[in-house]
């Protein structure tokens, strides 16, 4: 008797629990996304803050890489994707779900180097960077590096170029920049998340490249601006399209985006590397969310559109604290209009 009563009580508790879960499930909107690793820190901050403000929406994001994000959103297995490099026309055509690009924040790539005995910031012309990775400039005291750095005593040592061995948005932005400034690079190598590097050694992740550069004398590499800033690494200045040597900063990156805003296409798939303008840092890029234009679940689409609105109004202000460059005003206004199309 005791036993059966206990069982009855237990059943009741379990049933109540299931009911509670079901009722929560009915109210809360679970939105799943996957994609780029580069904006993951700010996305996870946004999503958790947004969930705290709106208890009925829960956004899950997995940073599986841009390639995975594009694949999954094209297949319709996630509610939204994220990528550091825009989808190609072919990818958009092949996708089972019609996808829209929404720029969220901006990132930049900076050159890092290790020259023992040189403490000054080194200036790099854009074509010099390309030729270092093409294997055409092999010594630090090459005339073309020296020309940009008067007064710096550059050693007669071989340059060790270091690149990202893993596919990454960082490599995409960097090679996109090199393709624009060097015709030779564009014909021999091209741009992608991973390319066929003519020379140098590969290391995995920003931390791999940074670690290699830090401990190998006379090496040269590239890392994300955020990584360099949070780890207090010194990095070089790059000559921009108007001939000015500029060290990367969030304002320089936003300036590059603002310069590109005038020619912004309606689908936001634009490269802003080597952007015009005296204050534009040349190796910058948007990172995008990939939003299906016609969701199967209108409630989800509505929740997602509401989140995007919140992102523009509040999220962008938090970007700088995490050293991401916020969208320029013009682009924010454009995006606000585009969100209306999310159904």
């Amino acid at each position: 008797m005791h036993l059966s009563l206990g069982g009855y009580v237990n059943l009741k508790v379990i049933a109540a629990g299931i009911l509670a879960m079901v009722s929560v499930g009915a109210n809360a909107q679970n939105i799943n996304g996957a994609g780029a690793t580069f904006p993951y820190p700010i996305y996870s901050k946004w999503f958790s803050e947004y969930s705290q403000l709106h208890s009925n929406v829960k956004i899950n994001y997995q940073s599986i890489g841009s390639g995975g994000g594009i694949r999954q959103v094209s297949e319709g297995t996630v509610d939204f994707g994220a990528t550091d490099g825009p989808m190609t026309d072919q990818q958009l055509k092949d996708a089972k779900v019609k996808v829209m690009h929404i720029p969220t924040v901006l990132g930049a790539v900076v050159p890092v180097y290790n020259i023992p005995g040189v403490n000054k910031d080194i200036n790099f012309s854009s074509d010099v960077i390309a030729d270092i990775y093409l294997g055409k400039i092999t010594k630090w005291n090459d005339g073309r590096i020296a020309k940009d750095n008067p007064g710096v005593n550059l050693p007669d040592k071989a340059i060790l170029p270091v690149y990202r061995s893993d596919g990454s948005g960082t490599t995409y932005i960097f090679t996109d920049f090199l393709s624009k400034v060097s015709p030779d690079w564009s014909s021999r190598v091209g741009h992608s998340t991973s390319v066929k590097w003519p020379t140098g050694i590969g290391q995995k992740g920003n931390e791999g490249v940074a670690g290699m550069v830090r401990q190998s004398p006379y090496s040269f590499g590239y890392v994300e601006l955020i990584y360099a800033e949070t780890n207090k690494m010194s990095f070089g200045a790059v000559r921009n399209a108007s001939g000015k040597f500029l060290k990367a900063s969030t304002s320089g990156v936003t300036a590059a985006a603002a310069a590109a805003a005038k020619t912004m296409p309606a689908d936001y798939r634009v490269s802003i590397t080597n952007a015009p303008g005296a204050d534009s840092y040349p190796i910058s890029s948007f990172t995008w969310l990939l939003i299906p234009t016609h969701s199967t679940d209108p409630n989800k689409a509505k929740a997602l559109a509401e989140f995007l609105g919140w992102m523009l109004d509040h999220g962008e202000n938090e970007a700088a604290a995490l050293t991401y460059a916020p969208l320029p005003k013009q682009v924010q206004d454009m995006v606000r209009k585009s969100i209306a199309n999310v159904k």
Binding site: I64, G65, S66, G67, G68, I70, R71, Q91, A158, L160, S165, D166, G167, S168, G169, V189, G190, H191, S192, T193, S194, V195, K196, W197, T199, G200, I201, G202, Q203, K204, G208, G211, M212, Q215, S216, S219
Partner: protein, 358 residues
């Protein structure tokens, strides 16, 4: 005394699913005239003969074991099938030439696996060359020469080495081995062995040789601890017999121990090789990740496992993905071929000389 008499009764009660327990046995046996006399003599035999032949149990046991064994075949075939199906795009594009092409260009969609196959085999074999003599030395010392108080700590440390995650090895390699290689070992090798042509070109501390060294350190504990167990299993009578014939200690180890355990040692080496072929993380961190085939061991290389780990997550194009999966297929085939060659070698060495002292 009474307790021993109790035993048959107790045994009869303990196996629960037995259909006819002992108390019923005499009644049942009375129907069978031939065994009736035996039953009164030995209740155990009677019990055993009455509870069924066990054929069903034996057969079903055999069937379950067969199923377990077949699952290995099923898993291998399944993996192979999946790899082939998912790499069909690249298989159709490049055919079998994929395994002999040198190109790897994700931008133009031109792929080949040769530099990766070369890197994988070269680093693994070099690692074996370094690790096997060392591991044998450790095992011989531990089983034959080690003073008792040292034995436990050395064994413990060897097994500890085997338990360290590979990323920790990789980090250690990046921060310790790479500078050491760049500033000390590399210049030394260039000075002493530079004439061979294997130590040419710029030495940045990362490359095939560094990767091989970290692999050697990683497979050393596996080979040495397995070899030690195998040597321990050699009966002491063998050692004593060899010594009694007037052998020195070294002769005893060579004839009595190493000769008897060589098949087991080859097995241990194979396990080490398996780990070396598939090792990803530590190798990626120090090999330089540049798909080139170069004679110099200072040059950066690339392995099959590394390129999959590096590029899979960001691979966007269908052909690119398919080529990466075909790299997985190549790793699968390389492992099978290398293991097959090793088996063949073992067979060639041992077919006419079974393990014995002579």
């Amino acid at each position: 005394m009474s307790s021993t008499r109790m035993t048959p009764e107790r045994e009869s009660r303990s196996p629960l699913p037995v259909p006819s327990p002992l108390p019923n046995a005499p009644a049942a046996s009375s129907t069978d005239a031939a065994s009736g006399a035996d039953a009164s003599l030995s209740p155990i035999r009677d019990f055993l003969s009455k509870r069924g032949s066990g054929r069903l149990a034996d057969n079903s046991f055999a069937a379950v074991m067969l199923l377990c064994a077949c699952s290995i075949f099923a898993i291998v075939i399944f993996i192979f099938g999946i790899l082939v199906v998912h790499s069909r795009l690249s298989l159709m594009q490049f055919g079998w030439k994929f395994f002999t092409r040198q190109a790897w260009d994700p931008v133009s969609g031109d792929f080949g696996a040769l530099p990766f196959i070369y890197g994988t085999i070269a680093t693994s074999l070099l690692a074996l060359c370094m690790a096997v003599p060392l591991a044998l030395g450790v095992a011989v010392f531990l089983t034959e020469l080690c003073p008792r108080p040292l034995r436990a700590p050395i064994s413990f440390l060897t097994e500890l080495l085997a338990a360290i995650p590979s990323v920790v090895y990789g980090l250690w390699a990046v921060f310790v081995l790479v500078p050491l290689m760049r500033d000390v070992i590399g210049p030394f090798l260039y000075k002493t062995l530079g004439w061979t042509g294997f130590f040419e070109g710029p030495n940045f501390g990362v490359g095939l040789l560094t990767a091989s060294m970290i692999l050697a350190i990683m497979i050393l504990p596996i080979i040495s601890s397995l070899t030690r167990d195998i040597m321990n299993a050699v009966p002491n009578s063998q050692r004593e017999a060899v010594l009694a014939l007037g052998a020195t200690r070294w002769e005893m180890i060579r004839i009595g121990v190493l000769r008897n355990s060589r098949i087991g040692i080859v097995g241990a080496v194979m396990l080490g090789l398996g780990r070396a072929l598939g090792e990803t993380m530590a190798v990626t961190m120090v090999i330089g990740n540049h798909p080139d085939i170069s004679k110099s061991l200072f040059a950066p290389g690339y392995t099959l496992a590394s390129v999959i780990a590096n590029e899979f997550s960001e691979a966007t194009g269908d052909l690119y993905l398919s080529a990466l999966i075909e790299i997985g297929l190549a790793l699968f085939l390389v492992t099978i071929v290398v293991n097959a060659i090793a088996r063949l070698m073992v067979w060639a060495v041992t077919r006419n000389a079974p393990a014995r002292v002579n």
